[in-house]
């Protein structure tokens, strides 16, 4: 479902196989396990997430939902802590969007601090409007946090626009566009290495990310430190 590879201080998480990497209970669990590994390894200072094949991730495993008595609401409920894991991960994160990223798959991508994407093929696509599904609240909170240009947000959510890497870069969703899947991964790893090289304190990084996205944190039920705790931390560092 997914593999982990260490390159120096960067951990590369790859969604494996030529399929759509749809988020069902199995893949969600594997991803959370991988993120837990990243979190607990003191030698890991940055994360890159990439996909094999034509897809980064095509969203929730709707086939599983149809065949399960618990249905779609279960998957929506299971993805929330996965997104929370990324937003609370105490290190920089770079998504290498190597193929299509749709719906929950696009959420997985934009939940990273930096988004690198191939420009030669693949789209970002919030398909929900087209397939008649609502957005979970935390999806919208994530999009409002990461897509701050109003017309871009409108096109993504109310027009279900398919956005190429190049357009996504112009519109502020993607940070860098690359020529191929392998170049996207290579550049993402390079960026992750640069960020790891800044030697930031992990706890401080995590705390500042929460400060950058406070509304999203609340939505994902990630607790923020009180001012008192922040002051204590400050005093301890003198």
């Amino acid at each position: 479902m997914c593999t982990l590879e260490k390159r120096g201080r960067v951990l590369i998480l790859t969604l494996t196989g030529s399929g759509e990497h749809r988020l069902g209970p199995g893949l969600i669990s594997s991803l959370r396990s991988a993120l837990a590994t990243a979190r607990s390894d003191p030698s890991v200072a940055a994360l890159v997430t990439a996909g094999e094949g034509r897809f980064f991730s095509n969203g929730l495993d709707l086939a599983w939902a149809k065949n399960s008595s618990e249905g779609l609401s279960t998957l929506v409920r299971l993805v929330k802590p996965l997104i929370a894991d990324l937003i609370s991960l105490p290190m920089p994160t770079v998504a290498a969007v190597t193929g299509h990223a749709a719906a929950a798959g696009m959420m997985l991508a934009v939940a990273h601090d930096y988004v690198y994407m191939r420009g030669d093929r693949g789209v970002l696509y919030m398909s929900e409007l087209d397939i008649g599904l609502p957005f979970p609240d935390y999806f919208m909170d994530l999009m409002q946090a990461k897509i701050t240009d109003p017309r871009t947000l409108r096109d993504v959510t109310l027009r279900a626009k398919k956005i190429t890497g190049t357009e996504a870069k112009e519109r502020g969703i993607v940070d860098k566009v690359c020529q191929s899947a392998s170049e996207t991964v290579a550049e993402a790893v390079k960026m992750a290495e640069e960020l790891a090289g800044r030697n930031w304190d992990k706890g401080v990084y995590a705390s500042i990310r929460l400060s950058v996205y406070p509304k999203l944190c609340k939505s994902l039920e990630i607790p923020q430190e009180s001012d008192e705790a922040v002051r204590k931390h400050f005093a301890s560092r003198l």
């Binding site: 500042i208 400060s211 406070p214 002051r231």
Partner: protein, 231 residues
């Protein structure tokens, strides 16, 4: 520490001396005292305030040596004074222009953004939120303030979560700074020009202050004594 002079209808608040203009209780109190004279007294319509600095630095943030020498129970004094200073700028009954004549870092960046308009020196100097690099977290009012002043995701992420050293040109492209100019004098001159332009449009400063507080309502809630937060 600072001087307040009047040039026509423009007030010029200068952080004096060739040092880093780091925020300690003395400097922050001096700045608040200077602003209080503008908050309380009545003054001519169509006024404006410019804040600038002498030397290489606009402000390099909090005075760490003062903090190290103070007992822990006193540390929050400078944070609370900065909060009060931001509330003063939000309440000022006239347009405010920051002339970033030198490096602005950490809390110094907060002073820059507390203004309505920013003119920054382009031939040297950075706008640099160094907290991540030095290992400091944000208290709530500070976080709220930066979120309201820098709404663009990628810009806010680069400034706060990448500790980027932003030049004037880049800051302009990204919407943090309004104009860029050459040299300290050039920056102050451009700030004076901009201040005159905006002052001409504001005859009722108190109405401006009301609107400003409404525009940055979350920040106002966190920095104002009236908002319930303990100063």
């Amino acid at each position: 520490m600072c001087t307040l002079e009047k040039r026509g209808n423009i007030y010029l608040l200068t952080l004096t001396g060739s040092g880093e203009h780091r925020f300690n209780p003395s400097l922050l109190s001096s700045l608040r005292a200077a602003l209080s004279s503008l908050l309380c007294s009545s003054h001519a319509p169509n006024s404006a305030l410019i804040t600038c600095a002498e030397g290489k630095f606009f402000s390099n943030g909090f005075d760490q040596s003062w903090v190290r020498s103070a007992p822990p129970s006193q540390h929050r004094i400078i944070s609370d004074l900065l909060r009060g200073l931001i509330s003063d700028y939000l309440s000022l009954p006239m347009p405010t222009v920051c002339a970033v004549t030198g490096h602005a870092a950490a809390a110094g960046c907060a002073l820059v953004l507390a203004h309505d308009y920013v003119v920054m020196r382009e031939d040297r100097g950075f706008f640099y939120m160094s907290e991540l690099d030095v290992g400091l977290k944000f208290v709530k009012y500070f976080e709220v303030f930066f979120n309201e002043k820098i709404p663009d995701n990628q810009t806010r992420r680069d400034v706060l979560l990448r500790s980027a050293r932003v030049t004037a040109r880049e800051a302009m492209a990204r919407g943090i700074v309004d104009r860029a100019a050459q040299g300290i004098e050039g920056t102050i001159e451009e700030a004076l020009r901009l201040a005159e332009e905006v002052a001409a449009t504001v005859s009722d400063g108190s109405k401006l202050a009301e609107k400003r507080k409404l525009m940055f309502s979350e920040t106002w809630r966190h920095v104002s004594a009236a908002g319930g937060s303990k100063l």
